[in-house]
Symmetry: D2
Subunit: 374 residues, 4 copies
């Protein structure tokens, strides 16, 4: 069982996360995490803060001489600007943000007390511990990736003949979009939004490769792996929808046209020629790649501010403007990779157990043999 | 904190659920639950089993003389057909179902051992305990509703000027669709699918009314109420996508066009004129209605069977056919109402506490006053 | 991960439990559970109810043709007397029971609403699901046992040279006491208490055999297996203390005299000649037997009633008398066996994983080899 | 709901804890925590490390301008010696420690990888977050205290006529023992153990004052507050037993002599003249002080080393000696205060809810009125 807590505010001293349940003996170093943190900070459309902060993780515990101990792993990311106590109060809530509902809930009469924690800055910790999950999974040849499929009204035309190629193209693109032609239009879309002091959303896709058949289960609703992944991805700030495989397109065709027929060969064992299900049937992984898409709404902080009400005076005002991005869809995809890695790793360890990498590996290998001989 | 476990197979003696955490002193009787169970069984497009089973709940514990005790509530629904031990074995997995992945995971060489629990029959328990949550919420004037917005390629044109009217029209429709004209076309769509021995999916919407501002929180990812609702709804069998408010439409417009501006009046307090967010900002309820849509894939059991492989012989075969529905989207909506009620009730009790209805009511009333005077 | 919920009141229709997380393929039948339920009902000193109820379990789900499916297991035990709705109200709280605090907490003005759930009758469900854990563990040669070491002021003198013999003697004794001489005095003690319309407590011991080194962990406080066992045992009604190994005797000797020195032989691997620790060091099982003792206070319902106050009139009264036992220490031991089995099984499955018995067995066997070759 | 994770090794950079669920608006500063950390480090019998480390906490998040935000609180305590990577390997496991079982479980062939996390040093984080719970509870006039009742064979004779006085005397004693005469003998006992290169254990008591009737519940085993407290206290390193109220003494008397009779007066409401139960009936708090005692075994690291086996060579050796204390019972009591505060605070927030101090206070005050008028 993998579990974790995160803490931190946008201008607190540090962002902190503790991850419990990683087996002992896994090679890990901060560089791997820093690479992922940098990937989260990239992407055309990011604002000024991204150049201020160049996130670097410190592994505070749970690791000795570059290997996990089995004990909880604590990670810290310093905030360069840690002026939380001195920052001015805010009374004009921003539509689209937690500002107003958060103030009411916690009886905060200074909205700064809300937005500091509600900030997407805090997804840095998710990426940090998600990277630990990625490193764990890499030992079992499981990996998670993301790419951008839509920005504003521009939809990418993606050549899906090779996952490897799609992922590699996405990795080279400033928008994480594997379709060069669409990428150009997307950049234009973002530039145009920026020139109008506005913001823009989009859709990203997460792909998990190497996931074996049999993770998650239909036996109880909260153990369905697709639902658990949906939980995690929907909890990323600004995400308003998620779909697996054909997703919302599933209603356009009859059942016999969409369900992935089952085949068998001595080399591959059971397999499918299609993957409309996005890798899940009945909440269990099928052994095919996990494919999901999620929609990120336009950033809620707009330079051209929206109508609001001062919470003190109750007078009509324009919402506060805090430093922000124009578009952060590529970054959200990177965060989602981390979330998916955490959920897959959690289901993996539930099924295969193991307190040392060696033990988990042995259990896993024997299971693969079991299903090969099924 | 509300928590629950369910148990039961499609042809076991009974379906069982235990719900823990409901305050004492709430009036409850089996009739209310049976009404909801009946709503789950209705809907044009259902198969033969629906006429066999007419679900009736027995409240086994947690209630005395029609009022909750504060102790766990156990609910039982008998299966009329409880021949699980005698039913024939199955070796031809059905694409779209948990059959194959479930068999591999649990090392079951008779797929009956998988499909009995993986059956949508088990959503009856979800509806049963969800109704208890609904009854709890009713004491606070909170309610959850559902309607069908799409079947196959037919999309309803819904007059959204009044939630009350939408809901009332849906309640009278055999397809839970408030748009009479579309309803007709949907029925045709289903009939046509049936005549082709095929199945068909669609989209339903859940609406929660009366939810106060301040449920759920941005403070930790797993406490975001929208994400928790997504978790529950995605865990309903055959659901492949979910979206809140504008959902996947969020990328078509700029930020300034989609975020719900904030207004204030002495009568209403803070309020919005739009509800694009579907009732959530930063994972907290805004006080506006919660609106979500989910896609149900076509039923996976098709009379016109799909290609499969016998798990014993490894020979190519046609998938098993088990008695099934053509379309169950209206039923899935009713299940989702129950799930949303459970998650809202859980977040409600976390915030307001209370071991008796009186105590929860008092705490809630005082909070409403607090935010009215904010 | 093993988890469970129980429900039921003393005079409700049924007692119910759901246990989730048991692997598939384990042979199980109701008879095994009924034997344990009968063991719970035995013991010199039990009251009249024990002859009314002869508990019989019905396995409602999770099992097909005598083997677990991997899905949640629901168990039901009928109450012969299910008159909860008609039973008279109670307003005179009994000292030692949850009566008064429960009434205040839940705002119950009829104490019947408290005592129905607070009744020790509900430990029948604990025994029922604990037996499922026992059956699981038996596949790995792990077993839990109990015996009585003290009743009132009579302390047994137990020959500890052989666990097997101790357990076998206890099993034959009406008081579960392996020391015949003390048993006689204990019976006298109970008879004497009865004649004075009073009640009496005592101490039982639980022994778990076959537990491998390495269950539980020091890595996080809530994963220490001894602490988790203490949690479960202390939650049995009327238990007021628990100790492992030397327990409260640990302060009478110096460190060098009490810590269990470590030895090694090719046959046994690492082993100890003493087991003062009761099978735990640092919250992990050492591979030696788990030994714990717990104290049960005298039954709180006394025929010679205690001073109380009517909750309606606020007048001084004598406490209500409800049908009850004189001494239930042997039964509490049987309940504790079940609790220990549940916690050991839970830690076992966390470490070894496995969705089928075959998979768990394989993982376990390989771990035993690993530590043999360490 | 209060939840927390801790991380850190004895010689890692920092010890870290995250505590989630504390309401907003509570005044808090590091000084209060540092005072408790210092209390943990005091006590006659502590070793050299206590003079090296003078623990100081840094509040990393969850607090702004000295008040809680409602977001998770991260606390950090630096280790002055953070040489974990460079410290020499260990192959001679110490009896009484997690060394051997930990090495086997995690397949660690350097025992340093076990003992760094298994170290009692990590209770510093428990005290740190427990202090936050204490601060929360102080707002409701609830407090937790500890004192030492036995060291080795010396048992204190405690004047129990006034909790206030007992606590105040304990606070002034270097051994946290309120009985001056016994204190002297205890010091002699420790000095004598030291001179023999040995270690010694003892018993401490925790007292919680101001806890209202109605925390915890009999409704489900894992919500019994006494059992939850036992869970936490038993998870403190080296604790081998716990008892509430009369505890193991409960079997020496008849039921009518030990159950706390119920009285009523207009001023006090319902009350007791005795508190044999230690503040719990049926797992719920009665409104009387919570009283528990726990036994700490002698420190497992002894300068006069025990017999062991080298895990590499399998040869007989003497166990490793690591810098250690002679007796740490007073410190264990301070840790237990923190644990009890955490569990009481958790049950408190479950019952009373509240996202701001104001809201929790209002709910609590109204409940107190409810039970006063019951």
């Amino acid at each position: 069982m993998l579990r974790y807590l995160t803490a931190g505010e946008s201008h607190a001293k540090q962002l902190i996360a503790i991850l419990d349940g990683i087996p002992a003996g896994i090679k890990i170093d901060a560089t791997q995490i820093n690479i992922e943190l940098a990937r989260r900070q990239l992407g055309f459309g990011r604002g000024e803060r991204m150049s201020i902060e160049k996130d670097e993780v410190i592994i505070l515990s749970g690791v000795r001489n570059g290997h996990t101990l089995g004990s909880p792993i604590a990670l810290s990311i310093a905030n360069k600007d840690s002026s939380i106590d001195r920052l001015a109060g805010i009374t004009r809530p921003r539509p689209g943000h937690a500002d107003l509902a958060g103030a009411l809930k916690y009886d905060h009469h200074d909205i700064r007390n809300v937005l500091e924690r509600a900030s997407a800055r805090n997804t840095a910790t998710t990426v940090a511990i998600g990277t630990v999950a990625k490193i764990l999974l890499k030992n079992f040849s499981i990996s998670t990736h993301s790419l951008v499929t839509k920005i504003g009204t521009v939809e990418a035309k993606i050549d899906r003949s090779s996952y490897k190629k799609m992922i590699s193209l996405a990795e080279k693109s400033p928008l994480r979009c594997p379709d060069k032609a669409s990428e150009k239009k997307m950049i234009k879309e973002i530039t145009s939004a920026k020139s109008k002091n506005d913001t823009i959303g989009g859709i990203f896709e997460v792909i998990a490769l190497g996931v074996p058949a049999g993770l998650g289960t239909f036996c109880h609703w909260d153990k369905r792996l697709d639902a658990r992944i949906a939980f995690g991805v929907m909890a990323i700030p600004a995400i308003k929808g998620i779909e697996f495989g054909l997703g919302f397109g599933y209603s356009d065709k009859y059942g016999t046209k969409v369900h992935d027929e089952i085949f068998f060969s001595k080399q591959k064992g059971f397999y499918r020629k299609t993957n409309n299900s996005g890798g899940f049937e009945g909440g269990i992984s099928t052994g095919e790649p996990i494919i999901l898409r999620a929609i990120m709404k336009p950033i809620s902080t707009t330079r051209n501010p929206l109508h609001s009400v001062d919470i003190k005076t109750k007078k009509e005002v324009l919402a506060t403007f805090e430093r922000s991005d124009i578009c952060a869809v590529p970054a959200a995809g990177v965060v989602a990779e981390a979330v998916v890695a955490l959920e897959v790793a959690s289901a993996f360890l539930e099924k295969f157990g193991g307190d040392s990498l060696k033990e988990s590996e042995r259990n896993y290998k024997n299971y693969l043999q079991q299903i090969a001989k099924f």
